[in-house]
Symmetry: D2
Subunit: 149 residues, 4 copies
């Protein structure tokens, strides 16, 4: 279950992700098996056509999906990405991106996740711009090696 | 063929990718069907364990693979990511990441790409930390929509 | 819109897929943007532990997703797979597999699809065993080359 | 190391994969971290245009990659697919398909694999038609659950 402690655990973990601060990402919501993050679309995260870069959308979705997975893991666990795949559905244009990570299947070691990435315009309208599917793995705090842990 | 003009085209395109500047990425090499980019590993691109974030490695590899694809496209074309998948092989630790994008199959509309991501330590030793495979699409300059173009 | 003609078009197309007959696949349902296929789980589609082979589940899901995409394409179009990714959530055990293909985003050339694979036991209970995400492409009848068409 | 015992272990395991027999697959080669399988292209494995079905190529590559992974696992281990992704590069046409599975990174639990799929014509010429990247997991013999093992 996600408890206040669980949300606090994720907020503390998130605060240590330097990339999330660099990209201006905020936590919108955490509940068991679900995490929503948002990021402003600015020139600092753009690709050459002025859209948000695929890598910016991916970063947001990877963290959202990872925290969705972590929200169902026991205390003392941390999470790492094993593999993540993103399809681009539309250009990532608007005022901000919102990624909603959800858990398809939580296992003891491996958790299968999805994340939907929406772009929101100035009027608050949202469109689905990216679809993410991947695998997260539980590791112990102090983890140093994805594959050989 | 990649000509000096081709390298110039990619350098000009790269300079418009705000995310690449935010992440401190440099072009190391461009040749026909191949592009190498590097990024320093700093706290600004970290995840919670102090490694480079999966999204930082992905951003680097996505651009490297995209420019590998663009290097084989005709003048007047630009490139967008259709879908990209990354497997994490080891934690992204060291002084910098190097992504080498290559083209598996260049088509008129769709180009299939791979990128290897290596982490380099202070002594210059490199380890493979990520493996990327994806699809890029040629679009006209001024492109505004991935799917309906 | 999926019309009776559309369903007929998909049934005719499906009948030409030799692999579907080899694997004993049946069409359960076709509607606009959606196709459901089923396959009995028998020793003929097994892997070494007696479960359905990942490749059997993939084949089912690839066709379901492809026909979901085709159901939204104009007359005279045919469909090919550009790339497909499958996560295994649980062993594929039971009496049959059911794959439900849906369209996330239909474009003129490229359609992004998902498919869920469920395993059904003798009592009719279903569990999600696989999650598929991929890209389909519209081609003309008589198509002979995925990338250079 | 792959020893005669290792090759024998894989041959025995392969013989229990009913799908491989249904599709007419043969083992061409097994060495440490590598496995080559072949399959005749016949109407029994076709899609609607007469090419080999994506699912046939995937099945071949998934087994080749899985056995490449298994070849580096200790005695008493078996292998299951966690996730596999395939890009189609060209139509799968010719007399047979050959899939070469290789290991990118072998870990204690998780092994990252690639497989190249080639189509061979009657004259013995080969073209790359598919590129596969995925994750395999070591399990104990008697394994019954991918995620919760």
């Amino acid at each position: 279950m996600s408890t206040p402690d669980n949300s606090a655990r994720i907020a503390e973990n998130f605060a240590r992700q330097g990339l999330m601060q660099t990209l201006g990402v905020s936590i919108e919501e955490v509940s068991p098996g679900r995490c929503v993050l948002s990021m402003p679309i600015t020139p600092a995260v753009s690709q050459q056509q002025g859209f948000a870069h695929a890598g910016a959308g991916f970063s947001l979705a990877d963290s959202a999906a990872g925290y969705a997975a972590l929200s169902l893991m026991p205390d003392g666990a941390d999470v790492v990405s094993v593999e993540v795949k993103m399809n681009m559905l539309r250009p990532m244009v608007g005022t901000r991106l919102i990624a909603t990570g959800t858990v398809l299947r939580a296992g003891r070691q491996i958790t299968v996740v999805r994340a939907d990435i929406e772009a929101e315009d100035a009027a608050g309208n949202r469109k689905l711009v990216g679809a993410v599917q991947g695998t997260m793995m539980a590791v112990q705090a102090g983890f140093r090696d994805v594959v050989n842990s």
